[in-house]
């Protein structure tokens, strides 16, 4: 991450990591999450769900920062993120919806 000046607390700065959960059967392949993920972590997969849509798949593993934008913008309640802390354990999602 580029800063125009170095923050004083940079050694305490922790970029969160997120674990993406996709409810494949609910997805309608709209592409909102793919388009608007700020890190470009998702792409529409080639697989089909039972309704014939292509659910998304994570293509840039490790880059999700748990911003929850995909969770908010998905019109089908089909994707959400859970925060993963440094010890790789899932913690409760703080930004609840």
């Amino acid at each position: 991450m580029k800063f125009w000046r170095t923050p004083l607390d940079i050694d305490q700065l922790k970029i969160p990591q997120g674990e993406i959960h996709i409810v494949k059967e609910r997805c309608k392949g709209c592409g909102f999450c793919v388009e608007y993920c700020p890190k470009g972590v998702l792409e529409l997969s080639d697989e089909f769900n039972s309704k014939g849509y292509h659910p998304p798949v994570v293509v840039k593993s490790g880059e999700c920062v748990n911003c929850n934008l995909c969770e908010m913008i998905c019109p089908d309640f089909a994707i959400f993120c859970l925060r993963v802390d440094a010890e790789n354990k899932e913690v409760a999602n703080e930004s609840k919806t």
């Binding site: 990591q17 997120g18 674990e19 993406i20 959960h21 996709i22 409810v23 609910r26 309608k28 392949g29 709209c30 592409g31 909102f32 388009e35 608007y36 849509y53 798949v57 994570v58 593993s61 490790g62 880059e63 999700c64 934008l69 969770e71 908010m72 913008i73 998905c74 019109p75 089908d76 309640f77 089909a78 959400f80 859970l82 993963v84 790789n88 999602n93 609840k96 919806t97």
Partner: protein, 294 residues
């Protein structure tokens, strides 16, 4: 390491707490913006730490009108255009509830137009979320009072040649105390606007421009809902405090979004109580509100 996982025990989507999961998946089309707006409302209720037992959602007829059936709150799916007066009766009889009207542009502004302006005039304490997709979607894509000039629909097959409403201006001039417009793309700002509207005492009106892919986009050859979202991305201009007179929407023109009006005004019941108190003094019995066991 973060990957897409399929755990042995499926994690619950956070929205599942506020949705009637026995009715999901919903009936809305792929790339419809309605689910996004519902998520924003749920997030706003969460952030406001609202007592979900005391939130009532009233909707009318239309695609947006189906929202009441999917949210796990005391919800009422009423007749076409009458969500606002129904909610007015409910919120006046039960001032302890947070009453939210969640309906579409055709329902609230066409057949329900009269009720919108009068309830705003009275400054009844409720929040009106008007999802504007510029069309009557549920019934097959007919022209709406918000359809931009020259846009095509099933009842304006050669283009709409009527001036549409400017909804923020309509709400503001009728007396709403909080008027904002966002799109389904601006999810975080929309959530904040919903939060402010719900907390605001009086008549709050939030217009949400949302993509309608199957009808509006298709009939006007604008692509899918995703293409409409991209259009919002490139053409929305945020202007907080803008004069509502200047936020008209032309066909595929720039869209001014933001919080346009945020004023203080006594609500309907406050006015009523103050007025009668000044006349009757202690003899006045203010309406206490039934609590369900009246």
């Amino acid at each position: 390491m973060s990957t897409s996982v399929e755990p042995a025990v499926r994690e619950e989507h956070p929205m599942e707490r506020i949705l009637r999961m026995d009715r999901i998946p919903h009936i809305w089309c792929p790339t419809c913006g309605l689910g996004t707006v519902v998520t924003a409302l749920a997030a706003a209720l969460d952030e406001a730490e609202a007592d979900l037992d005391k939130v009532a959602v009233v909707s009318g007829i239309g695609c947006t009108g189906r929202v009441a059936g999917y949210m796990k709150l005391d919800s009422f799916h009423t007749t076409h255009g009458r969500a606002i007066p129904f909610a007015f009766g409910l919120s006046t009889a039960r001032p302890d509830l947070k009453t939210i009207v969640f309906s579409g542009d055709g329902d609230l502004v066409s057949i329900g137009g009269n009720h919108l302006i009068h309830t705003a005039r009275r400054n009844a304490n409720m929040t009106v979320i008007c999802v504007n997709n510029f069309i009557y979607a549920m019934t097959g894509g007919q022209v709406a009072p918000t359809t931009p000039i020259t846009a095509k629909s099933s009842t304006s097959p050669f283009g709409n040649f009527e001036h549409p409403f400017n909804l923020p201006l309509l709400a503001a001039s009728s007396g709403a105390v909080y008027v904002a417009r966002w799109t389904a793309l601006h999810v975080r700002r929309l959530t904040k606007a919903f939060r402010e509207a719900i907390d605001k005492r009086g008549f709050s009106f939030v217009e949400v421009i949302a993509p309608c892919s199957t009808l509006y986009a298709r009939r006007n050859k604008l692509g899918t809902g995703l293409d409409l979202m991209k259009f919002y991305h490139d053409n929305c201009v945020i202007k907080h405090g803008c004069d509502p007179k200047e936020v008209e929407i032309d066909y595929q023109s720039k869209i001014v979004v933001g919080k346009f009006v945020d004023i203080e005004k006594p609500t309907y019941i406050e006015c009523l109580n103050e007025g009668y108190k000044s006349i009757f003094g202690d003899k006045y019995k203010p309406y206490g509100g039934g609590d369900g066991n009246n």
